[in-house]
Amino acid sequence: MAERTNPKDWKSGVSPDWCPGCGDHGVLNSLQKACSGLGLAAKDVLVVSGIGCSSNLPGFFRSYGFHSLHGRAIPVATGAKLANPALNVIVTGGDGDGYGIGMGHFLHAARRNLDLTYIVMDNQVYGLTTGQASATTCMGVKTRSTPEGVIERPINPLLLALSAGATFVARAYSMEPNDMVEVFKAAISHKGFSLVDCFSPCVTWNKLNTYEWFKSRVAKLDGASHDRTDLAAAMRKALEEDPFPLGVLYERLDVPTYESLDPTLRKHGAVAGLPLGLSPEEQEELLESFL
């Protein structure tokens, strides 16, 4: 641990090709700072993403990575974590990827409480495919797929995560990078499934939820008055929209992680590293069982 300390060490050789001003730049920077701040080693970090502008993140981040299919980052990450629980597995992606096509995986992961850190760059639009409505686009917004305005109510990802049993739920904003770094550090340190929904404006396709728009609509959560272990309080906070609270809404520490309960992992640890092949005793007992 504590091997790398410079956030620059977490930069890959490829520089981000996001639009200038895209919120995702801030998320990437914060994640690099968080990892270096926690003293993680790149070799022990696996960043898994789906497809979308935001999902390009692993390519710009120096660690192991898997830039998978649209909507499938969570299952890929789940498999990797179950094969080697020693890895710090961070999932990054967009609102379309995670809350649209990926909704089912997201909520099943939450109930499962595997120790994954899920960072969603929520720009309330499909960026990469040039501006269609997503599951978090606000009612009435005109996009390329909703020229007469969105007529479905957006989902509340924090509330859904809480309802599904996520044990860590937070919100961050890419214009508040210092807070974002702290939230990321807490999320990565949390043992269990953590969601960080990041407001990460798309400057190209989202003309409503702009930096200007957010300015008066976000406020740091008051840690003193909010009990982050209280589910009901967290749900109330999750429902607040004016302003949107930033910070850790919920953290519950008494739910064991999935991997700590899995009988195989309890007995053998990381199976990815086990030698292959059955011992002579195992062979015999298996053959015997078919007699």
């Binding site: 890959s12 050789g13 490829v14 090709d17 080693a41 790149a42 070799k43 022990d44 696996l46 960043v47 898994v48 390009n56 692993p58 390519g59 981040f61 120096r62 660690s63 192991y64 990575g65 898997f66 830039h67 998978s68 299919l69 499938r72 969570i74 299952p75 890929v76 990450a77 789940t78 498999g79 990797a80 974590k81 179950l82 094969a83 080697n84 890895l87 089912g104 995986h105 099943h108 899995d262 009988p263 195989t264 992992l265 309890r266 007995k267 053998h268 199976v271 990815a272 590293g273 086990l274 030698p275 292959l276 092949g277 059955l278 195992e282 062979q283 298996l286 053959l287 078919f290 007699l291």
Partner: protein, 573 residues
């Protein structure tokens, strides 16, 4: 009368009548008596009430298959008597206190073996134990093997239940001896105990022997029995088993586990595979070793969930968009199911590609005696990178295979990417797009097909070289055709030979062309209305198979009708 040394036996009843348990008792009594046996169950996906028919054959030679007709019928309800009594040749066991044997339509010589179950056992539910005891007696076997087996089977139950069932079996055994005498059958028992296994169990066992460390799946008939076999054994043998929320999650979890360095597998049937297909291409593009088992059932769509068919070939071959390398293997026997499953992991890792192991319900769900399995299987894993080098995860090589790295290794960090990428794995689909590089990377990946081809099971003609007719098949149809071939060629005749396709992709076009273009006449026997195997063969060799016996009614091929199809083809000008 000559003493029969093989026995065909059916057990018919409703789902929920305990046919599986009765079948297992009989099968294991035979196998532990040193006999070979084969059993296939036609069942339904509704839990109770659907008609179920277990068809079994036992004898001293391994070449057994689903029998056309039973020597002995064990009927567990009236429905079974009404449907199947007419097919039995030697006799019919049933509870004569509750059911009535139809008087008409029985085969000449077939005996009414009605059992007074209420006298022999405490409750009607024990008819199974009574009937099993009687059947064992009529097969000419001693009671000890069955007795020991029932002790084991009922180990978990209360002593009362155990004793009652044992007593019922013994009563049935004794009653048969006293009341029925001999049916002229005496199975040649006495050899060493044999293992009994289903195709799915063999696949799971092969995977375990090969060091499979991760199995994710979503329940789907007829693949679920792999899950059911793994689940209680997972922690014992160091395999993480994860039931996923759907098949898409299942396959992507396996890909994640493989990326992390574990040998990983998933299994499903056709509908689940359709959902998995996008991820097969992901494994191809990211060069992630992955084994997927596809157990075919009656299609299309939900189709016939508990019936057999061989019509998912095109789905498997066409899985996912674009061109990428994959291997497709199809075992034809339970032993091959074991061996190919183990081999699949070597191909997957040596070639860093998805390997699709295709089975069918008949092969996967029937049980038979097997021998000669060694769990000490060869394990080869392909190239790994050494830390410290200038690492290029997707280095262009002659074989197409590049040295791997696994998360946790220092200095080898890379990102696997479903977009086109360069040798380092950095995406070149976007800003850094480069057509020349792209072509190089495609060619590199596609070259792995050559590497895979060298690892596939051999493709060869069985039987006499110059037979009048070449039979062509794959999967579960093979044992039957092999059996029929031997029958047809008895006495040194050279009527029929057999080409069974086990390696489907990369397709062994040279071998298949050599065989088919030098055959005199060909007949394909396959379980697909669309003749998908015939089409694949023509696609890769140009050879058109003119005679076809296609079956897609959900039932396996049976000896009688298949023989007729062969004779017809032989008869044709």
């Amino acid at each position: 009368m000559r003493v029969k040394d093989t026995l065909s036996l059916w057990v018919g009843g409703a789902a929920g009548d305990g046919i599986a348990a009765a079948g297992e008792a009989l099968l294991k009594t035979f196998s532990r008596s040193g006999l070979h046996a084969y059993s296939y169950t036609s069942y339904q996906s509704v839990i109770r009430g659907g008609h179920v028919l277990l068809q079994m054959a036992a004898g001293s030679s391994k070449r057994l298959c689903v029998p056309d007709f039973p020597d002995l019928l064990v009927a567990l309800n009236q429905d079974s008597l009404d449907r199947e009594a007419k097919d039995a040749s030697l006799g019919i066991l049933y509870d004569k206190g509750r059911f009535t044997l139809p008087r008409q339509g029985l085969k000449p010589g077939c005996r009414d073996l009605g059992l007074p179950v209420s006298e022999l056992a405490k409750e009607p539910l024990m008819q199974n134990s009574v009937a099993v005891g009687a059947a064992v007696r009529l097969a000419g076997l001693g009671f000890e093997t069955l007795s020991a087996l029932l002790q084991e089977t009922f180990r978990g139950k209360s002593p009362e239940v155990r004793e009652a069932n044992l007593a019922a079996a013994k009563a049935g055994y004794d009653h048969a001896g006293k009341a029925f005498g001999s049916l002229g059958v005496r199975l040649p028992s006495g050899g060493p105990r044999r293992m009994v296994m289903s195709g799915n169990q063999a696949i799971a066992l092969g995977a375990l022997a090969a060091g499979c460390r991760f199995y994710s799946a979503y329940p789907m008939t007829p693949a679920s029995s792999i899950m059911h076999w793994f689940a209680p054994r997972a922690s014992r043998y160091g395999l993480v088993f994860k039931q996923a929320e759907d098949e898409i999650a299942a396959v992507n979890m396996a890909i994640g586990a493989a990326h992390a360095g574990a040998r990983a597998m998933t299994a499903t049937s056709g509908g689940g595979f359709a959902l998995m297909s996008e991820a097969v291409g992901l494994a191809g593009m990211t060069e992630t070793p992955l084994v997927i088992v596809e157990v075919q059932r009656g299609g299309p769509s939900t189709g016939l969930p508990t019936k057999t068919e061989q019509s998912d070939l095109f789905q498997v071959l066409g899985a996912s968009q674009g061109d990428y390398p994959k291997a497709v293997l199809a075992p034809a026997t339970v032993e091959e199911a074991f061996a190919f499953a183990a081999l699949s992991f070597n191909i997957a890792e040596e070639c860093q590609m998805p390997v699709l192991l295709v089975s069918d319900l008949n092969l996967s769900e029937h049980h038979e005696t097997v021998g000669g399995l060694s769990l000490q299987v060869p394990i080869t894993r392909g190239p790994y990178a050494a830390p410290g080098e200038d690492f290029r995860r997707y280095a262009v090589t002659d074989s197409g295979v590049s040295p791997r790295a696994v998360p946790g290794q220092k200095g080898l960090e890379f990102t696997a990417c479903s977009d086109e990428h360069d040798e380092r794995g950095d995406t070149i689909s976007d800003v850094r797009c480069d057509p020349v590089q792209r072509t190089r990377m495609m060619d590199k990946r596609m070259r792995k097909l050559r590497t895979a081809a060298a690892m596939l099971p051999p493709t060869a003609l069985e039987g006499p070289q110059d037979a009048e007719l070449t039979l062509v098949c794959w999967g579960s149809t093979y044992p039957l055709l092999r059996h029929l071939m031997e029958r047809l060629n008895e006495g040194g005749r050279e009527r029929v030979n057999l080409l069974c396709l086990r390696s489907l992709w990369p397709f062994p076009w040279r071998e298949v062309s050599d065989i088919l273009y030098s055959s005199k006449k060909t007949l394909a026997v396959e379980g697909s209305a669309g003749a998908q195997l015939c089409r694949l063969i023509r696609q890769e060799t140009g050879y058109y198979i003119p005679h076809r016996s296609l079956k897609y009614d959900g039932e396996p091929f049976y000896p009688g009708s298949t023989l007729a199809a062969i004779e017809a083809a032989l008869g044709h000008g």
